[in-house]
């Protein structure tokens, strides 16, 4: 079962169009709620007049921040974000009030009758201004976080280097672009409890936020995950959940919300724009001696996952290489731009663009092959990372390079403007340097089956199927005897978020642990000697608490406050992508023609699902490298935010490396984010190989690339 291409357990319904997404739900007397959002980036709210909106036909209730019965702020890391604005707005799109109507039309129409008087405050539009400005977005200043990674002595490392390469890189906002926009339905159950069914990546977190904001106990709140049409980090933060809970609290009726695409663009968290100054020192033989990285990030006005990204980018800043002397300095500033949060990779795809461009730049100066320099410096068993963590197990990075090696050595340019690039990455699976456990339980049912109770949010990536395969493999039982009870805070324990490429590794291990206990119980009861499961279940009903818990928390250490020394993750995934591009040097069009992608996943529980992740990651990497750019006020619909279509996709060959992780279920780690992380870097290096220009800004879209090529041509002409 583990290692097989078992079909997804939800797939038959999905090809029939049957799954009920949140926006497909129905209820009697269903109301619809919409959010009135700030049109100003930074302003005091002097007055709010909702009388006009309330007078509109079909309007049931208008809710402002003053109506919130419990805590008024929420946040996944710190509770800093107003649920509804408190006298001040800090970004375009900030929720100010909620309008609940009999129909969607009525609610949307009433928006134009709301009268709000704003008094503008200077808007901080970039982190450099934020650092210097006297305008404070929050009382305690505009700096959200500052993290450092220090190892060895970086100045000595540069002094001992034969070559030094220094460049600056920058990236921009990206949207998750999940096909299903944020949506949910809330209602009161028969016991008078608040129930919210929504498209989400973490039900337990949202249940707790609702309890805080309504000021009611957690057992009066139930959150259920509806079929979720993609997440990519964008459904980790609260989207519709608190609004639905408030609307139900006040109206006592079922309420639906569904963001329009434009509202999704404006309201959803974005990938962090990062400015990266990167200095690398190396010996003549290609061994990297020192890396100094300064990262400045624009996190928008609220924390969301900004602190997480601030630390994760510093920890991953050297890439998958052993560097004896490191100084990484990462700062995140508040601005009045969109709130930035979690998006597939937590900042690491941006860093991969920088560290992989640097590796190629060093190789070029030393006249070394890009693959050879990576083989020379790559992390392997016994290596020490930037945080001085010694890697003992499951370090398959060199193997990913070796999978690519034959194709790299035999590469041949098909034209004078085609080129090949390599991108590599490592990525810590799970949350950074904190406890992040998962729990689950197995139960014998009255009708003679085994029920797996799981709180894992399946968002399309296939986690339900992976847990299913791990369960069946461990129990050695036919799947007709097993049922999955999932995605509901009433029936499951907290597993943490579907994020950080952690569910296969952490929840998978929790399922394995529970299944091992049940396995022993079934053995004692004679199941494996021929006694029927129905018989055992019947006997179990007479015993108390025949429940088998599974729990796993990956072993990590806290990081030193000054140097970040420590073991932030129990295990890392590794990958190498090699990409062939064809550039039209007149128009700046870059075609991605072929990708070879090698991933160390520890163990592929389902190779086809692993490949599905890699293919999707390559697509998102093409978007990151060449086309996707969210510009506030401009690219707020699918009309002008360009995501890859089928026509943009190359041929892709995936190679799975299985260097088993001893703490993972059957040796498995994660792949969701690793699939994306090295792709943009490999395209950018391919562009340099093709046309000899060095892109320093993402996306390197058609106009930027055209300009780089033209600038290079005019430089050449000016040379004597």
């Amino acid at each position: 079962m583990v290692g097989s291409n078992r079909k997804r357990i939800d797939v038959i319904d999905k090809v029939l169009g049957k799954p009920v997404f949140a926006g497909d739900m129905k209820a009697d007397r269903l109301l619809f709620a919409v959010v009135y959002r700030s049109p100003r980036p930074h302003a005091w709210i002097k007055s709010i007049d909702v009388s006009g909106a309330l007078a509109q036909p079909g309007i049931v209730k208008v809710i402002t921040g003053e109506d919130i019965p419990g805590k008024k702020r929420f946040g996944v890391i710190k509770k800093d974000q107003p649920c509804l604005a408190e006298g001040r707005v800090r970004y375009v799109g900030e929720p100010i009030l909620l309008i609940v109507g009999e129909t969607e039309n009525a609610a949307r129409k009433a928006m134009s009758s709301v009268k709000i008087h704003f008094e503008d405050i200077e808007a901080i539009r970039d982190p450099f201004t934020a650092e210097k400005s006297g305008t404070l977005i929050h009382e305690d200043g505009n700096l959200l976080g500052h993290r450092k990674v220090i190892k060895g002595n970086v100045e000595r490392g540069f002094a001992e280097s034969d070559v030094i390469v220094e460049h600056t890189y920058s990236t921009t906002w990206l949207d998750h672009g999940f096909m299903e926009t944020e949506a949910g339905v809330g209602y009161l159950d028969d016991a008078g409890r608040i129930v919210v069914v929504s498209s989400t990546q973490n039900i337990h977190y949202k249940m707790k936020e609702i309890s805080r904001v309504l000021g009611i106990s957690e057992d009066m709140v139930r959150v259920i995950q509806s079929t979720t049409g993609g997440g990519f980090g964008g459904k980790l933060d609260v989207t519709v959940e608190l609004f639905l809970a408030l609307a139900v609290y006040y109206t006592k009726r079922p309420v639906m919300m569904r963001f329009t695409r434009e509202e999704s663009f404006v309201s959803n968290t974005k990938r962090h724009p990062l400015y990266i100054e990167y200095k690398t020192g190396a010996k003549k033989d290609g061994s990297i001696q020192a890396v100094k990285v300064t990262i400045i990030g624009d996190t928008g006005p609220y924390i969301s996952y900004g602190e997480t990204v601030c630390l994760r980018v510093a920890v991953h800043s050297t890439g998958p290489y052993e560097v004896p002397n490191v100084h990484a300095d990462s700062r995140m500033f508040y601005t009045n731009n969109p709130v930035c949060g979690a998006m597939r990779g937590f900042g690491v795809p941006q860093l991969a663009f920088a560290h992989e461009s640097q590796m190629d730049a060093v190789a070029r100066i030393l006249n070394m092959d890009p693959l050879d320099i990576r083989l020379k410096n790559g992390l392997r068993k016994g290596s020490s990372t930037a945080t001085s963590q010694i890697l003992h197990d499951s370090v398959g990075f060199i193997d990913t390079l070796k999978k690519i090696e034959p194709f790299w050595r035999e590469r041949k340019k098909s034209s004078h403007t085609s080129g090949f690039g390599i991108g590599c990455m490592f990525y810590g699976c799970g949350n950074t340097a904190i406890s992040n456990p998962a729990k689950c339980h197995l139960r014998l049912t009255e009708d003679g089956k085994i029920a797996l109770h799981s709180g894992v949010c399946e968002i399309g990536q296939g986690s339900d199927t992976i847990l299913w395969q791990i369960l069946l493999e461990t129990l050695k039982i036919d799947e007709k005897n097993v049922v999955l009870v999932r995605g509901d805070t009433d029936t499951s324990s907290d597993v943490g978020s579907t994020s950080a490429s952690r569910q296969t590794y952490i929840s998978g291990k929790a399922v394995y642990e529970a299944a091992r206990k049940l396995n022993r119980y079934l053995d004692e009861k004679g199941y494996y000697r021929g006694r029927s499961l129905g018989d055992i279940c019947e006997e179990a009903m007479t015993e108390n608490n025949v429940i088998f818990d599974g729990y796993f928390d990956p072993p990590t250490t806290q990081l030193d406050k000054e140097t970040s020394e420590g073991a932030p993750y129990a295990t890392y995934a590794f990958a190498t992508h090699m990409t062939e591009v064809e550039v039209d040097d007149k128009t700046g069009v870059c075609l991605v023609k072929r990708v070879h992608a090698a991933h160390d996943v520890g163990r592929a529980v389902n190779p086809r699902l692993v490949k599905g992740q890699v293919y999707g990651g390559v697509a998102m990497g093409i978007g990151l490298a060449l086309m996707e750019e969210f510009i506030p006020g401009k690219s707020e619909s699918l009309d002008n935010y360009y995501m890859p279509t089928s026509m943009d996709m190359p041929e892709i060959e995936v190679f799975i490396v299985e260097d088993e992780e001893p703490t993972g279920p059957f040796g498995a780690k994660g792949v969701g984010e690793p699939a994306l992380i090295p792709q943009a870097a490999s395209i950018i290096n391919g562009i340099q190989d093709a046309v000899g220009v060095k892109p320093s800004q993402l996306p390197c879209h058609i106009e930027r690339l055209k300009k780089l090529i033209e600038d290079k041509k005019s430089e050449r002409r000016q040379e004597p």
Binding site: G17, F21, G229, T260, R261, Y615, S637, S646
Partner: protein
Amino acid sequence: MKKIDFTLNGKQTILDVEDNETLLHALREKLDIKSVKEGCSIGECGACTVLIDNEPHYSCLTLASKVSGHDVKTVEFLGDENLLHPLQEAFITYGAVQCGYCTPGMLLAAYSLLLKNEHPTDTDIKEAISGNLCRCTGYIQIVEAIRNAAGLCKCNS
């Protein structure tokens, strides 16, 4: 308000629609066909794709009143639990489905292609689904599924 008379998944259907009502709205809200998804409402994502006379159309940009006298198909036409269409089988076998939100529209675009072209090249397939966005799969396994269904499927029958 206008009365329209059209064929929906092989059945004659008579419906009152508003003059400015989209086909997407009529299908989802009046006929309860929730497999037709809304992703952008401006004809960019393809999640709302339906077939009109076997050609793919964005139902979010189509006025319901315009389909009177025409044949409209949604994914329900293709198959059911007991008898999946070869395209649906192939989507399962080749891993062409992740979150499932684009899947109904994708299947319909593919079905329309195979009606016209029993042996499409990969370029034909990519072109046929180029109006349908998918954020999860990178399209690779979708193209594989359609290519492999092509040989097996007599869409005309």
